[in-house]
């Protein structure tokens, strides 16, 4: 097993949480989300994002609205629903538990 595969798995596991975190700050359209994720080096191919967004939306954790754009096609602005906010809160707890546990173990 190579490290790349494990790295991908690790990234994927926290991607959902990261998307929710980005949207918690403010609503955003996919390209903005991609930008943040790329800066954080959490995403390799952009396509990964879209099924995730649709799934989160179908779980009613996300909602969206359309907005016209002057420079291109209309943009789909995603935002957290109340359920999404609660979900994010729960994940934040889990994440902080996990990260402190991992830090503890890998010292």
């Amino acid at each position: 097993m190579n490290a790349e595969n494990t790295q991908a798995q690790m990234r994927k596991g926290i991607l959902e949480y990261c998307i929710l975190s980005i949207l918690k700050k403010k609503e955003a359209y996919p390209s903005e989300i991609l930008e943040s994720l790329k800066i954080a080096k959490l995403i390799v191919v952009e396509g990964t994002l879209y099924p995730l967004l649709t799934r989160l939306k179908n779980m009613e954790l996300l909602g969206y609205r359309w907005e016209e754009s002057t420079s291109g096609p209309p943009r789909k602005y995603y935002s957290l629903t109340d359920e999404g906010k609660a979900f994010h809160k729960e994940l934040t707890v889990t994440w902080s538990e996990l990260s402190s546990a991992v830090n503890q173990l890998s010292k």
């Binding site: 390209s31 191919v45 990964t48 099924p51 939306k57 779980m59 291109g72 096609p73 943009r75």
Partner: protein, 512 residues
């Protein structure tokens, strides 16, 4: 030379080289194939197409107007091959399925997974109350519905109970709601399952719809039709009530139509002024007035909205807020009614009476009564109420509030004298006020020789308010003597509502 074609994606025009176009088409086709098993395929495709447009737009400039093969290749590289990101999706799914089998579900539930009562609008006959109850108690919905029908037939409270639950219970709109309704923990996996189930339900519904029309038995069909008719009929009834109530509200409450049985020189009293006859402090009445008005308005809006909704099968996004506020207002209304009710009821807790005894030493006594509700017949038929054509309860004159109906009782005298005892009675919240009000009752028996005329009305000041003021007259007759009673009254003609102009006299001699 390369061939260039014009394409249209998401409302934006692009010029694209033919081989680049083929590449893009192929990519989108592969994507679509790969997505065919994934939920929300159309949306994912749409989002990706939008991203393609953005990436293309970024690559074009004044000097470069045509999308070339390299542009498409790089765009595909940025987005990734379908295998790259969709494999991930399916692995994700199998992982979570494994997780699901373990019992660490609780760890992933993020909100109270406590079971809650909802209206199950996806499996509803009327508003999903029965269906929601069935989910909550894990019963078959048919049993719950039958119970409701039995409740209605046996005790009659099935329908109001249904309406109350309809108003109070939220409907299970989201998938999270549905999980709570079923009492399942809210885990990502369960939510996903629920979403998938919903999609299946939806496609099943649409598939079944055409075949349903044929397959449905005559009985089922007629049940459904009857259900719809009942629902529409009920809606029409509510709408009618709402409209009638709003008209009544405008006329009686806002217009102050003389709708109460209290007559003044200017006609009948309106509801507000009628209220003033009971409340010591007008401020209290004002509070009651404003709150009752607000409750009525919300109630009327609710009746009209619910009726319209049922009758025309409409959905109002604001309906649930309305239902909640109706419920809230109803609670406030009950509290206020109890508060003001007890405030007024307190004014009737203490009853006091004053008696005046007139002793008459004579051989024979004649009592003249007139146009009376309670007359000589009371002796034999206590409480007999002879109607006399008046259609008001109280009359407000310059002298104060005039009330009719003096009760006359004939009793045996304790001694050898005739006694005429007048008793004035009034209520209040304490002895002093009750006594004062009893004293304030103006009532006068007039004497002419041995004939005593007892009027059938008495007065009290308006400031005293209505405090159950009454006048009783006891005629005590000594043993061996008798009393002659002349009673003058009007008779109804054969038509019960029309009264003779001339009073009729009736004489009875009573001895005890």
């Amino acid at each position: 030379m390369k061939k260039t074609i014009s394409i249209h994606i998401k409302g934006i025009n692009f010029l694209i080289e033919e081989n680049a176009y083929e590449l893009l088409k192929d990519y989108l086709k592969r994507l679509e194939d790969k997505l065919s098993s994934v939920n929300g395929k159309e949306e994912i495709l749409e989002d990706i197409e939008l991203r393609v447009v953005e990436l293309f737009t970024n690559r074009l400039s004044n000097r470069k107007e045509v999308i070339e093969e390299l542009d498409v290749r790089q765009t595909i590289e940025t987005l990734g091959e379908p295998e790259q990101f969709l494999e991930d999706e399916s692995t994700n799914e199998s992982n979570s399925n494994q997780k699901n089998e373990n019992d660490n579900q609780e760890n992933t539930s993020y909100q109270s997974s406590e079971k809650r009562l909802y209206r199950n609008i996806e499996n509803a006959s009327i508003a999903g109350v029965c269906s929601g109850l069935a989910q909550y108690f894990k019963m078959d919905v048919i049993i719950v519905r039958i119970l409701f029908v039995l409740f209605t037939l046996a005790a009659g409270f099935g329908v109001p109970l249904y309406i109350i639950l309809w108003v109070v219970l939220p409907s299970a709109h989201t998938h999270i709601d549905r999980l709570r309704m079923q009492g399942r923990p809210i885990t990502v996996e369960n939510v996903r399952e629920e979403v998938e189930m919903a999609a299946k339900r939806m496609s099943r519904n649409s598939q079944n719809f055409a075949s349903k029309i044929h397959r449905e038995s005559v009985l089922q069909k007629s049940f459904r039709t009857v259900g719809q008719i009942i629902s529409k009929g009920f809606g029409g009834f509510l709408l009618f009530l709402g409209v009638a109530a709003s008209i009544a509200f405008v006329i009686i409450v806002i217009g102050q139509l003389g709708s109460t049985p209290v007559k003044t020189a200017d006609g009948y009293l309106g509801l507000y002024n009628f209220g003033l006859l009971f409340f010591e402090d007008p401020e209290q009445l004002n509070w009651l007035w404003v709150s009752a008005g607000a409750i009525s308005i919300v109630g009327i809006i609710w009746l009209i909205a619910t009726g319209t909704r049922l009758l025309f099968n409409l959905r109002f996004p604001w309906y649930k807020y309305l239902s909640r506020s109706v419920f809230l207002f109803a609670i406030i209304g009950v509290v206020l009614v109890f508060y003001f009710g007890s405030m007024v009821a307190r004014e009737y807790t203490i009853e006091k009476s004053i008696e005046t005894d007139t002793m008459v030493s004579t051989e024979s006594l004649t009592i003249q009564t007139k146009d009376d509700d309670y007359n000589v017949n009371n002796y034999r038929h206590n409480g007999y109420n002879r109607r006399n054509g008046r259609n008001y309860w109280l009359l407000i004159t310059k002298k104060g509030i005039e009330e009719r109906g003096v009760r006359i009782y004939y009793e045996e005298s304790p001694d050898s004298l005739y006694h005429i005892i007048e008793e004035r009675i009034a209520s209040s919240r304490n002895d002093r006020d009750a006594l004062r009000r009893a004293k304030n009752i103006q009532f006068k028996i007039t004497q002419n020789g041995s004939t005593y005329s007892i009027p059938n009305t008495f007065h009290f000041p308006e400031a005293d308010k209505i405090r159950n003021q009454r006048v009783h007259v006891y005629i005590q007759v000594p043993k061996g003597k008798s009393v002659k009673v002349n009673d003058e009254f009007k008779y109804p003609t054969s038509d019960e509502d029309v009264w003779e102009e001339e009073p009729v006299s009736e004489s009875v001699t009573i001895s005890l």
